[in-house]
């Protein structure tokens, strides 16, 4: 596929399968495992202080000779330090999210870095294209973690963005197997970004209890909440119910922020506090039932994609 697929060519990867940068899940172990398997692994900088991120980049490079990327939420407080060390460490591909693509794209491109921006609507896709990014990730409502206010699902979002921009397009949100990958390619995407399924990989740094909770999740076990502040899709645990009850009683954004406090995601996702922690995950959780190495996930999605394509053509 790498000879014709624009995303494979852009990143120099074998399969157009990208592991999403995820707080508390995607350190160097997961990213290098995905890259070694022929996809694109991403270190999620959102849960790392700059020197922690530097260490993960160095370990990732030691663990794989293949391309990998770093995902940087642009609302991070130490952004200049982060961007400086990405250049110092020779990172070749940066995914930016949660911020204005105009702020850093030109500077990163001037350093020779490939830049991808994550959006959840057409307006920001156009803005990112105008800012000069090399590709876009369009992420739908079903995705885990922080999410767009329009609530546009991947099925509706990808054709809208495809018709709006010319640059390569990566679909995200609701993609856990090869059938969903094929569906997104049918909609006009050129690659898929997979979060939830990789969060449960053996190499994910998520706490074992959080992984087990993801695997136990059924349909309807996640919900997008805190829409008045920063929308986030959570597993329904006691912390979620606390937020939800406050919302149903008409809580203000300040009251919700006060319930949220600080460090909730770390508590839930890294430390495994399934009661008080914030457990960010996508709807794909309902499809998953076992932990496996990241390389198996890459191979299964790719093999499933080819099998679904064969069935679609012959059916």
């Amino acid at each position: 596929m790498s000879t014709t697929n624009r995303i494979c060519k852009l990143f120099g990867i074998q399969y157009p399968i990208i592991q999403a940068g995820m707080v508390w899940c995607s350190g160097w172990r997961l990213a290098s495992a995905v890259s070694n398997a022929g996809g694109l692994g991403i270190i999620g900088a959102g849960s790392m202080h700059p020197e922690m991120l530097r260490s993960h980049i160095q370990k990732c490079r030691a663990a794989t000779g293949r391309p990998f990327a770093v995902n940087v939420p642009l609302l991070y407080p130490e952004m200049e330090a982060i961007m400086g060390l990405l250049v110092e460490e020779g990172v070749k591909i940066v995914f930016t999210s949660a911020g204005n693509p105009n702020t850093w794209t030109k500077w990163l491109k001037d350093q020779g870095i490939t830049v991808v921006h994550v959006v959840s609507n057409t307006k920001f896709a156009l803005k990112a294209e105008a800012a000069g990014v090399d590709a876009i990730v369009a992420e739908g409502f079903e995705a885990g973690g922080h999410n767009g206010r329009e609530e546009t699902t991947t099925l509706c979002l990808i054709p809208l963005v495809r018709d709006a921009v010319q640059i390569p397009l990566i679909a995200a949100g609701g993609i856990g197997d090869g059938r969903a990958m094929l569906a997104c390619m049918a909609l006009g995407a050129e690659a898929v970004q997979v979060g939830t399924r990789f969060a449960t990989a053996a190499e994910s740094s998520a706490h074992a209890d959080f992984k087990a909770r993801i695997l136990a999740a059924k349909e309807g076990d996640t919900e997008l909440v805190m829409k008045q502040t920063v929308p986030v899709r959570l597993l329904k645990n006691p912390f979620y119910h606390q937020i939800k009850q406050a919302e149903l009683k008409g809580a203000t954004p300040e009251e919700l922020q006060s319930i949220l406090g600080r460090g909730r995601a770390k508590k839930g996702m890294l430390e495994g506090d399934l009661e008080e922690g914030e457990l960010e995950i996508g709807q794909v959780a309902a499809m998953l039932d076992h932990i496996e190495p990241a390389a198996h996930i890459v191979a299964d999605i790719w093999d499933g994609y080819l099998a679904a394509k064969k069935k679609l053509v012959e059916g």
Copy 2:
């Protein structure tokens, strides 16, 4: 396609494209136009008294020699009268929704009627299969009108239901063109049910002002509200904002019901009151920009499906 596709065989239709039964939109004119174009037209009984429904069935039969169906929300108050007249009028295909598939499926099957049930989760898909329905419509979060509480999107829902049931599966929610149809077929669906785009068809009985408002809608212009009572996806108009503000202030289900009152959907969708009316529509509204005959819509979706399939195979 009709020789191998189970849905085409089941209904005796040319293309696996089904026009959703929709309150105030899908009377005999729309249903017969879709059926004459090779899809399956559906008369939406949800907004009709029994004798009105009888008249639509008779007019539909006079307007097309091809198969058509009637959609019956099972919570309708005059259900025995409705079911009786469906048999009297010789209706061959009935889509049931919003109720227990055990209540009427066996009785309808005993009358020689093909029965399809609409679900929004795997649990009810299994229940419908056990009740003996001939096929299932699985409808995702992005769909217009009333909607499942789990908020599972079509991209996530179709593979889950496909893996759970053996009977033929129709995808609904977020399908407005041939690319989305192909995506749903890739996920394991055997046909698609399209609502929003047919609501804007020339033959739809929706008010011209409502159609114009749908065509003007952009991403994020619909939202699923009233989740504490009967979840419904609405266009954001003054009535929506009244409901939304009440929800944000912690309104009880009774207070929301009191704001809703009676006849809101008729007022908005049939009478064209864009301020005070309830305007039920799906996220696909953001993709639409012109009114066209239903036959053009069927042909465009089918041609688009074939073109997208060719591109996917060759790309």
